[in-house]
């Protein structure tokens, strides 16, 4: 019988080959996204293992829920009901504000904002590399999760999806040293970048001049300029402003509002689709022109009549993309095919 792997010259050659291949993979993985396909395939292969590894924690939770006392449950229901009442009261106010905001935006002829679509996902209790700030969630591409998708929890922004399998996805947390997002100080709209430092309790604001108006306890929210995170989601609060006279920039620390190391349920967010698609179309095809229909007609010809106003309807749904060349051809030389 021919031995499959024998001792001799073979292993050394094979070793060198695999070692070089590993190094190439590492470089490619670090530098760029060349090996994402490979990673996705392997990630899919181990997702059953991830679910199995999360089983003990989940069953412990289930057992705990089974043995929770009646009283504890009653208290919990009471608390949740109170919370629900408060939230729905706030929601009513929010609705009216939203309607008013829409109306004002229409008057200004600005593009309307639709509600973002969200999906609740649970974290899988799986241990990852302790040097990286990542978590695994139990939703994947089958649920429409995509790479770069924003993830939030009850407190604020948590991070973004960096890798998807069919049933699971990896989320890079805000606090990872590789993560940064575009934010603004809520009080005065000062735009800056919040970068992770490997500590779930601390982010850092970059490039803040010593003279900038930043105070402790300022709310920091997403600015939406990065094209990934929708605008105006809370990120954190400023905890420390250290102005260094010798240096160009001040050192500003922010404590994330999301429970980066404690949340169990998170929300996967689909940002405003119309805006996103329009932006992407412009970004990816500079030759293309995003056509905005100024009259009250949607793309399919139906007229949109809003009860509140007869002002021009913003084209939230129907940002029609027409290639420039074709658009030029359409009205003038359209007769070319007629005869």
């Amino acid at each position: 019988m021919q031995p499959l792997f024998q001792n001799g010259g073979g292993p050394i050659l094979r070793f060198l080959l695999l070692a070089v291949l590993s190094i190439i993979l590492m470089v490619a993985d670090h530098r760029d996204q060349y090996v994402d396909q490979v990673r996705t395939i392997l990630f899919t292969a181990i997702s059953p293992l991830q679910y199995t590894a999360a089983l003990p924690a989940r069953s412990a939770e289930w057992t705990y829920a089974q043995f929770a006392t009646n009283r504890a449950l009653h208290e919990r229901v009471d608390r949740l009901q109170r919370e629900n009442l408060q939230l729905s009261a706030r929601q009513q106010k929010f609705e009216t504000l939203l309607a008013e905001n829409d109306r004002l935006r229409e008057l200004l002829d600005a593009s309307a904002k639709r509600d973002e679509r969200v999906l609740v996902a649970e974290l899988l209790a799986v241990d990852l590399d302790p040097f990286r700030q990542q978590v695994i969630v139990n939703r994947g591409s089958r649920a429409g999760i995509y790479r770069g998708q924003p993830v939030i929890d009850a407190g604020g922004v948590m991070g973004q999806v960096i890798n998807t399998g069919p049933f699971t996805a990896t989320v890079l947390l805000l606090s990872d040293p590789d993560h940064a997002l575009s934010v603004q100080i809520n009080r005065n709209g000062l735009r800056t970048i919040a970068a992770g430092r490997g500590d779930p309790e601390r982010l850092e604001l970059l490039y803040i001049p010593n003279s900038a108006d930043v105070r402790v306890d300022d709310l920091v929210a997403t600015s939406g300029l990065d094209g990934r995170f929708p605008a105006n989601y809370p990120v954190g609060r400023v905890t420390e402003v250290n102005r260094r006279p010798g240096q160009a920039f001040a050192e500003v620390a922010v404590r994330p509002l999301a429970n980066l190391d404690r949340s169990r349920e998170v929300l996967m967010v689909w940002p405003d689709q119309g805006q996103e698609e329009a932006r992407r179309a412009v970004h990816e095809h500079p030759d293309f022109e995003v056509e905005v229909m100024p009259d009250g007609t949607a793309g399919d010809g139906s007229t949109i009549v809003t009860p509140e106003s007869t002002a021009p309807t913003p084209p939230a749904d129907d940002a029609t993309v027409i290639p420039e060349g074709e658009a030029d051809d359409l009205p003038g030389e359209g007769g070319g095919e007629a005869p």
Binding site: P3, L4, F5, Q6, N7, P11, I12, R14, F15, L18, A19, L21, S22, I23, I24, L25, M26, A28, D29, H30, V35, V38, R39, L42, F43, A45, I46, L49, Q50, T52, A53, A54, P56, A57, A125, V126, D127, L128, D129, P130, F131, R132, Q134, T170, P177, G198
Partner: protein
Amino acid sequence: MIRVLLPTITLLCALLLVMLPLPDIITPFRPDWVAMVALYWAFAVPRHFGLFMAWMAGLLLDVSQGTLLGQHALGLVVITVIALHMHQRVRVSPLLQQSLFVMFLLLLKQTLVLWVSGMIGRAPDDPWLYFASPFVAMLFWPLIFVILRDLRRRYNVG
């Protein structure tokens, strides 16, 4: 068939153990189960356990841990090729000596992994803590050895 199947299954079980959530305090001390199982098969059936399998196990470990693709794979391939080279000497030595040898190899792998982490700027705050894991692995080696040997004998591998 079983010659490939048994190492594969045990490696997957080891991967599961690596992913199992532990309290944060003891996470750095978690022994590298995948590397230990790979080393066992390299010592026990060097003719059937190849470098490629160790490499694949390393890649799966990388994906499950979220490290750079190839980081653990490189470490595993390096220690496996050493183990394959030394298997005749290690196999006949007493368990204690084996444990020491395994610890040495795991230290080597941990160094490689941490080195790469450091190069891409992800060095942990207290890297010395992470060198404790090979010592814990040394304590667990006799257990792993006995379990895997019994499995190997029952299924007549090698």
